[in-house]
Symmetry: C2
Subunit: 350 residues, 2 copies
Amino acid sequence: MAKIKPKKQATLSDIAANVGVAPMTVSRVMNGNGYVSEETREKVMRAAKEMKYRRNGLAHNLKRQRTDTIGLVLGDISNPYSTELANAIRETLSARGYNLFICISEHSAKEDIAAFESLVNHSVDGLIVATRSNKGGDEYLKEIVESNVPVVVIGRDFQHKSVDFVSTDNLNGGFEATRHLIDLGHRRIGFIGATLSGGSSLKRLQGYLKALEQYKIPVDERLITGRKEAISEVPGYSTEKMGYEGMKRLLSLPNRPTAVFARNDFTAIGAITAIKEAGLKIPEDIAMVGFDDIPLAVHTSPALTTVRQPMRLQGQLAAEMLLQRIEREEPEQRRERILNCELIIRNSTV
Amino acid sequence: MAKIKPKKQATLSDIAANVGVAPMTVSRVMNGNGYVSEETREKVMRAAKEMKYRRNGLAHNLKRQRTDTIGLVLGDISNPYSTELANAIRETLSARGYNLFICISEHSAKEDIAAFESLVNHSVDGLIVATRSNKGGDEYLKEIVESNVPVVVIGRDFQHKSVDFVSTDNLNGGFEATRHLIDLGHRRIGFIGATLSGGSSLKRLQGYLKALEQYKIPVDERLITGRKEAISEVPGYSTEKMGYEGMKRLLSLPNRPTAVFARNDFTAIGAITAIKEAGLKIPEDIAMVGFDDIPLAVHTSPALTTVRQPMRLQGQLAAEMLLQRIEREEPEQRRERILNCELIIRNSTV
DNA sequence: ATTTGGTGTGTTAACGATAACTTTTGTAAC
DNA sequence: GTTACAAAAGTTATCGTTAACACACCAAAT
């Protein structure tokens, strides 16, 4: 046996030279295809083990023209929503023989682009995007799509003829949540966490507005709190803090709301803290509805009324749609799947 | 201009053929180095844009012999601990020009191996591992390390001369948490969430035992709940559920504990739910201490006394140590960094 | 004795990009 | 008019792997 190279990875040729065969023969041994005599196989195996051989995936994938890898770009991974999504996607892909690489982008265009770029640079076979929409990121994503990388988006705006779309019915969820409060007799209903981005929270706000309109309750702008900045500048955010601060503002109003719908459960939890700090009772003084039904919603006190969205199902569908795009020949039409969500009534409203 | 190819990615050669120059010239234009006339540059740029050219990262990285990408393998991403870690790592790497790919492995050897393999196959420049230790996974990890991939582990067992190690002082944290309860006069103190894996929770249990010993309090096995299965079979777990069920068991004891130390905050939150369900008061009937100081710890009712560990710092250090290994020539000794943690006293104990 | 066909192995060329080298062209200096 | 040298290209070889083909060799079948 020749000396083992000091630092570098051993290659097929290294082993071939060592054993005294052609690199192709080593390749055959490693991949277990083609004819190789038992004697040669053993010699090669031994040398490979000794030299700590490990196939170079870049070269392998370059030759194969595929990587069996999917990229997922997530925004806020602190949110159990993202977590469940990621797990469902991973499980679905894993069952079909694909790996999943996750990149985080805390909602800035720059980070979105960096994430897209690094995944595409590694030649992922497809991309699932679940960040909030923003101008720069979307432009870059469009380029990627048009250079023929299969893409599916989850719960965010992105109109493109060859990009599939999975989401929950945030509009109707927001509507149901608000209607629930109206049915309970509330007329001054606040909304916490409005943003201008074209994502799910906008839809939830629209559902809120729709419910008010349908029940002829005038909209009071002061009851709607949130962030008004331009989409592209939105930094990493803490929705819990947003809920806390939003609620503070609502509580300081001369005529404070008797009920509040928060854009998501974290926001609601922050709001609950503010309400308790003010010495008020939930739901007697202020009723509270969240969105998502994160695992902790049942543990807050009082347990949180919220809108449950099928997180796992969204991930699963997105993964399946992406694989279909990857594995099918025919270019398809854009597909949209908008899933129903469900109002879960707990003690924060009744 | 020639016709645009129907589905495939355009390559340098495609553009070269289209414009009527050599591939190398196109490469020069794309990378902005070497001499290219303004005229040619423009023609090439135009063609590239039209053909939606995108550099093949596999080929590029194969040639470069590096990817500027680091892989992170996480266990439970539902835990804010992992989240913070990931964010800190990403920020540190990003500042140094590296990308981060995250793989999830819900604590099974099979998934660990799959994650390691897919990252190494993509030739990441280094690997940060923050999963729980398990036999199969560790063996595979050893192979990877010995084939010269730089690796750093966080908060988990893995002894290897060329693998750096970052963790918090879980032993002392467990000790302090328990001592706090002892100082408050408690003598029957439960522990929820023991596991046999060589990770952080074992150390926390040891800290608990050490405190009992030091204060001459006899250990009552019945007060220690957890999972006894073999390490390699541990499935995806819900620590919250573990806390709930563990607490139920403790409550059913003839002589129930007056205080409980939970392996982490999620477990503590589950335990709190069980305590409340039993109609008992915290901390009057049962005092509760958690570990991690997740953002929600301050929002539980009562707010949770817990041991804060510097999550961001751990991530940052791990990333820096890894980059040093990658960028330095000299092979170094194994380095260990064990960070202090801090007891945060809130209302669940006093 | 020759065909057939499986077995074992080597050779070549590609995957896409690019470093290093070579060639050609233009043009300013002597 | 020749030299000199920068500018603008082209050519070759390589990163590590592998598909496709070529070529031995040997046993069984004709």
